[in-house]
Amino acid sequence: MEHWHGKNTAIQESRVIQVLLIAFTAAFLTLFLIFPLAIVFQYAFSSGIEAYWQAVTHPLTVSAMHLTLIASLSAVVCNAIFGIALAWLVTHFRFRGRQLLLTLMDIPLAVSPVVAGMVFVLLLGHHGWFGTWLDAWNMKIIFATPGIILATVFVTVPFVARELIPVMEERGATEEEAALVLGASGWQTLRLVTIPAIKWALLYGLVLCNARAMGEFGAVSVVSGHIRGRTNTMPLHIEILYNEYEFAAAFAVSSLLALLALVTLAIKRVVELRHLTGIRRGSAGSL
């Protein structure tokens, strides 16, 4: 705070207002973030460590965790590739429909995930447009793992590209041109020049993408079919446990999910810090 309120800034609040603002923020955060999070852990352990351990090692929980990790990993990989390609496309080429593409990219952020899930059911479900065709090939997408992966990928599409576009826009393509002239192939240029230069932004985007993927409920809920042990992700599993009044177990799994989120946040923070130091040293990658 002191840093921002140095003598040379035009905004100078009185000490009282500063303290009030800080207090208000702290109270708000406690009430809406820290308190609920604490409650989750408190409830999780309310029936003792033994019960907690049982809940989190229950086969159904393990299977849900497994599925969540698969879906998140798929989303991260898909969107890393798609995000780099899309960011490169919109930052290095000017073409008709570019603005439209940039807008379309944000659809998953704007549309309710439930709607997204419904769309997949309509398209790929048993009675969907491609349903008969998929049935003929004996491919099951909806109410199966592929459907969950699809839904997760869909809702996380914008995260990587949105992080990369400003970074790529700023650095331009001259380093890539230099690499080409020095004899590097397109693939070598991507691997040796582009990715190292954008790696922190990319990592940051992937962390965000992962956090969203693990927590996704709405879209996944629609396409999953809630088949225990097979198509339940962690958020869905928690809902089921909760609806069956197994509060301790529900909160135990919740705490696990919250823990994963906290780890993700920690990674994000580290990435951010390194990214910032990198920028301050005038080089995004020399660490």
Binding site: E175, L180, V181, L182, G183, A184, P196, G282, S283
Partner: protein, 630 residues
């Protein structure tokens, strides 16, 4: 020849960025592309590097066509404008990048990068990151990186652009030394003329995607061919005069026409260049240096201290009316401004307001290539044909197109200005690369047009024909005759039909082919890329001697066309001139008819119409009428 471009053309969208550029760079040469920003010089460099693919034309490196090759296959070293160092790699890794790609073993790479760091004077910085380097150091790393895999061609895009003036000078020397030591063929792009002079073996001046002129720094400075280069390279005085019996008339002063200057027709505009340091001043007419060319008496108007030298500006009354567009007169001044220069230690620098006798050590006449065209607009309606022809000709000749509107009273001024604005927009809409000026004058249209064509030193005046084509007198406007007879300036009469002037018929039916009409036709045909025919109608009763003489004239005329690079043929027929010409015009899909003006005096309305008027009456094609000297 290590690098060769052949008629390279590149458009970005609608905009022509490289306009048919051809050049050849010799082995080991340091070749500079000099031009202002946006002139297309960097794009030319990128075409050589393979980063921009031309729409047409080809690029040859070391004798083989690489037009379709990607940059990786061209083996050229490039130093980019902002160096484009890889920020996440150390200096050594940057330099070794090209070698690593080429799979050179690590130990060898290390050795090579040490060698290069020593060459560019940066030993010991191998482990630094680009962010830890100064601008000058970054530039040298970029140079080392470009040279690492020993390319046969080095390309540099404004390599000193981002550096302090002091470091620039130092790095220029070191670049030149390295280039000489390695003997590597180099192309450097810059907007800085001083840099170009210091570094270049040869310079190509680039303007609007074209190469205007190529030459050694010495040639471009002391004897440029075009007005653009004369003004762009170095400071200079370009004055307009007229060729007058072996001399050049500038205002009321006469200078001898230099023996090595390109041939000019009698009365043709002459553009005379003299650099400031060619101007000598002395306090007394009797003290003018032996062998120098007296210019006249000048009044000191301005002096600017510049360190080693002082810039002087004189106003000369004797040169009145010869001012180029380079320097514009202050309100109330009417003489011509001449720039000079003196050592700042010179004891006799005149004070402002003092007068001196000026003379020249030498002067240089520019090539009469680009055309200065005056187009007189009629009030209403604007005929599309006139504007179209003016646009084609102005665009093709890369000269100056001036639009004139004459208001008979002050009240008409605003409508004349509107007309000019509309016409200007129409011309620029069709061709954006035209140098265009507009002018309104008040008074009698005939008098003002004649005056403007003289005062502006135009090569050519475009006029609208009177609309009534059937009326012989009417179709040859009086204004044209006045311009021809009083101003001695060629006229093109245009009817409703515009023309790209691709086929030119030079008609010598009325007599022997005049030198001036053939030469002007050749200049136009060269610019528009036209085919030309020299057409002659012979009388049936000519003696063998006369026939031989005419044939000699015709073959000389064709030689002139060939020397201008114009494709041509000669056709001789026998018969009645006007009728034969009519047949020729009807049968040939011609765009322009060129004739010499046979009339030396203003027409007497009762007399029989002159030959040129009769030709104009027989065709609706644009007709170029060239005044023949007495």
């Amino acid at each position: 020849m290590t690098i060769e471009l052949r008629e390279v053309l590149k458009k970005f969208g609608e905009q022509l960025v490289i306009n048919s550029v051809s050049l050849a760079v010799e082995d080991g040469e340091l070749f500079v592309l000099l031009g202002s920003s946006g002139s297309g010089k960097s794009t030319i460099l990128r075409v050589i590097a393979g980063l921009v693919r031309p729409d047409s034309g080809c690029v040859l490196l070391r004798g083989s066509d690489v037009t379709q090759f990607p940059p990786q296959k061209r083996e050229v070293g490039v130093v980019f404008q902002n160096y484009a160092l890889f920020k996440h790699m150390t200096v050594a890794e940057n330099i070794e990048f090209g070698l690593k790609i080429r799979k050179m073993p690590a130990a060898q790479r290390r050795h090579r990068s040490d060698e290069l760091l020593e060459l560019v004077g940066l030993s010991g910085l191998a482990r630094r990151y680009p962010a830890q380097l100064s601008g000058g150091q970054s530039q040298r790393v970029a140079l080392a990186r470009a040279l690492a895999y020993e390319p046969s061609v080095l390309l540099l895009d404004e390599p000193f652009g981002a550096l302090d003036v002091k470091i620039r000078g130092k790095l220029r020397r070191s670049l030149k030394a390295i280039q000489r030591e390695l003997g590597i063929t180099t192309v450097l792009v810059t907007h800085d003329q001083e840099e170009a002079f210091e570094l270049a073996d040869r310079i190509a001046v680039v303007e609007r995607g074209r190469i205007v002129e190529i030459g050694t720094p010495h040639q471009l400075y002391h004897s440029p061919q075009t007005e653009f280069v004369a003004n762009f390279v170095g400071g200079g005085n370009v004055l307009f005069g007229r060729y007058n019996e072996g001399r050049v008339r500038l205002g009321s002063t006469y200078l001898p026409f230099p023996g090595d200057a390109p041939p000019h027709d009698e009365g043709a505009p002459v553009r005379m260049l003299f650099r400031p340091e060619w101007v000598i001043y002395s306090s007394d007419a009797s003290q003018i240096e032996q062998g120098s060319l007296p210019l006249g008496k000048g009044t000191m108007r301005d002096r600017l201290f510049g360190g080693a030298t002082e810039k002087l500006r004189f106003e000369l009354d004797d040169l009145r009316g010869s001012q180029s567009i380079g320097l514009s007169l202050e309100y109330g001044q009417r003489g011509t401004l001449v720039d000079g220069v003196a050592s700042s230690l010179a004891p006799d620098i005149p004070a402002i307001g003092e007068t001196r006798w000026l003379s020249l050590k030498r002067c240089h006449v520019l090539q009469p290539t680009s055309l200065r065209i005056l187009t007189k607009l009629e009030a209403v309606p604007i005929h599309a044909g006139l504007m179209e022809t003016a646009t084609h000709l102005g665009g093709a000749s890369h000269g100056l197109l001036s639009l004139l509107s004459v208001a008979s009273t002050k009240d008409e001024m605003s409508s004349c200005k509107d007309l000019l604005e509309d016409s200007k927009a129409a011309v620029l809409g069709a061709r954006r690369d035209i140098r265009l000026t507009t002018r309104v004058r008040i008074g009698d249209p005939v008098v003002e047009t004649v005056l403007e064509s003289q005062e502006g030193y135009f090569d050519l005046v475009l006029l609208q024909r009177s609309s009534r084509n059937s009326d012989t007198v009417g179709s040859f406007p009086g204004i044209a005759r006045h311009v021809l007879v009083s101003a001695h300036i060629p006229v093109i009469l245009v009817s409703e039909i515009g023309s790209a002037l691709k086929r030119v018929l030079i008609c010598t039916a009325g007599g022997e082919p005049g030198k001036s009409d053939v030469r002007l036709a050749a200049r136009i045909a060269r610019h528009t890329g036209a085919f030309s025919r020299v057409f002659h109608v012979r009388r049936g009763d000519m003696s063998a001697n006369e026939v031989a003489r005419v044939d000699r004239h015709l073959s000389r005329a064709q030689a002139v066309l060939t020397s201008f690079g114009v494709e041509s043929d000669v056709l001789v027929v026998e018969g009645e001139p006007l009728r034969e010409l009519q047949k020729q015009i009807d049968g040939g899909a011609w765009d322009l008819v060129v004739i010499g003006s046979s009339s030396q005096t203003l027409p007497d309305t009762t007399a029989k119409p002159s030959f040129d008027a009769q030709v104009v009456a027989t065709t609706s094609l644009p007709v170029l009428i060239v005044p023949t000297p007495e």
